[in-house]
Amino acid sequence: MRDAFVERLMELAAADPRIMLLTGDLGFGVLVDPTPDGTKPRYAERFPRQYLNVGVAEQNMTGIATGLAMEGRIVFTYSIANFPTLRCLEQVRNDAAYHGANVKVVAIGGGFSYGALGISHHATEDLSIMRSLPDVTVVSPGDVWETQEATSALVETPGTCYLRLDKSVAPPTHADGERFELGRARLIRDGHDLTLIATGGILGEALVAAEDLAMRGIECRVLSMHTIKPFDAEAVVSAARETGGIITIEEHTIHGGLGSAVAEACLDAAALPGAFSRIGLRAGFSSVVGSQQYLRSVYRMDAPAIVRQAETLLGRAT
């Protein structure tokens, strides 16, 4: 996802000199040429006037981004896991968001992308925290195409935005000529027994689960909820009314993220789903480490867990 983001941002930066990227000293090989002889120029080398490594200082990075944005620039701040969000949350809130500054906060390493590094690098509360900030758009794409389209869309979206990228990517599912729209869920497959709503790269697990469930006679609708705010309540309400139930899937705490947003949308519209379950992190901090795939399995967020949950929900568990 991060490479897809940087590739698209380089295209955008070439066309629009207002675009700037600030990093908190991260992005070796991604933003910065990793070769000793300078043969693979990346964003930093290609756009020196639109790039700034501010050092390991995320509070300052976010304040500087706000100042640059107030002077007419579109500024991306880039770091990993919780550093560009929680570490400088007040700068995001007071400086960027309250002033409507054109600051786009980008975190790579959403969820358990850096699972083996330990809880400092588990970004598992960011969606709920960022979602609660007024005037902040929150985007969590599921595949390469969504990542690229979201990057373009954020440049066009005024104000402060959060883009959460993770290491995993779902396989491509977009149709030729499909138009990406922030705040509008993507219907990836249709079915009437159950709806699976996923956000982020874990969408891939939902797609595998849907395939498996179809072979077991359970037809699922799958929605990619790439935008957490503004939230596509309409797609959720339709799913509640038109299908047998809803399972939400996020590599994130169950508190306040996608599952909560779906539940709120249903209750607000008095559209109770026939069955409802949230798949996400329930265990609190994970002191166990491991790969993204391993931790999904441990915390029952992977495709087999989704299949089991679907069957249980529909009373077909064996």
Binding site: A57, N60, I64, A69, N94
Partner: protein, 274 residues
């Protein structure tokens, strides 16, 4: 534009009078902090800042950020007295439904660049503005006014490192160094000294002046940069509560609001000033 019509001494006296009245009317804190910076703000708005009250978003303006947002009443008063908005609006300060919040806010207030109130935010935003001006080859300057206690916040030191490294000689940090913070004297809370040397070590040019001496303030804030390729730090030695004898140099008047006899006594003293 009216700003040349009164002296900076008179502007400072009006800022102080407004500050005492506004905090009294609203029952709000921080009058000592406003009295402390009244001369700095008066010299800035009266003599230093290139701003247009009738065109507050003029692109060529100098940017001014009050990072010690709790002294917002002083900036509101300066803006009103120099024609950014009617002086009568000051009466709404801290009242129900007002947009003149206790900590300085930009929404609906012409002339305020940045809303602050949580300490340690202003200098980073100022760095971004100054960096943008450098990129664009624009001559305007960025002034950020901080308190001494505010320098406890680590985020400031991130910004101080950045500005020195990037040679932002269009950036000026002014420290309202009144030596008293929220609960006690600065020296007994978290010592800043040797203070000037810290800034110098981070690549800044430093000037130390009497923060109530208008000629010294004007000289220090006009000759920018003090040294080529260096951001400027003006350490303005001030007295908290300056101008009202019983408010001077006390922790109490960081919080206390003048009412009744105290209010009258404070206003009498301020009327007696030049």
């Amino acid at each position: 534009m009216g700003r040349e019509q009164i002296s900076t001494q008179e502007l400072a006296r009006r800022i102080r009078r407004h500050a005492v009245e506004m905090t009294s009317r609203g029952g709000s804190s921080h009058v000592g902090a406003v009295l402390s910076l009244a001369d700095i703000v008066a010299v800035l708005y009266g003599r230093v800042l290139r701003v247009r009250p009738d065109e507050p978003r003029w692109p060529g303006r100098d940017r001014f950020i009050l990072s010690k947002g709790h002294a917002g009443a002083g900036v509101y008063a300066a803006l009103a007295e120099t024609g950014f908005f009617p002086v009568e609006k000051l009466r709404t300060h801290y009242q129900d439904g007002s947009d003149l919040s206790g900590h300085v806010s930009h929404k609906g207030i012409p002339g305020v660049e940045l809303s602050t109130g949580s300490l340690g935010h202003g200098l980073s935003v100022g760095c971004g503005m100054a960096y943008a001006a450098k990129l664009d080859g624009k001559p305007h300057r960025v002034f950020v006014l901080l308190s001494d206690g505010e320098c406890d916040e680590g985020s400031n030191w991130e910004a101080i490192l950045f500005a020195g490294h990037h040679k932002l000689d269009n950036l000026v940090a002014i420290i309202d160094y009144n030596k008293i913070q929220s609960l006690d004297r600065v020296s007994r809370t978290l010592a800043l000294e040797p203070f000037a040397e810290k800034w110098q070590a981070f690549g800044w040019a430093v000037r130390e002046i009497d923060g109530h001496d208008h000629a010294a303030l004007e000289a220090a804030l006009t000759e920018i940069p003090v040294e080529a390729d260096k951001p400027t730090c003006v350490i303005a030695h001030t007295v908290k509560g300056k101008g009202v004898s019983f408010m001077e140099n006390t922790v109490l008047w960081h919080y206390r609001t003048a009412k009744g006899d105290e209010l009258e006594a404070a206003l009498r003293e301020l009327e007696g000033q030049p």
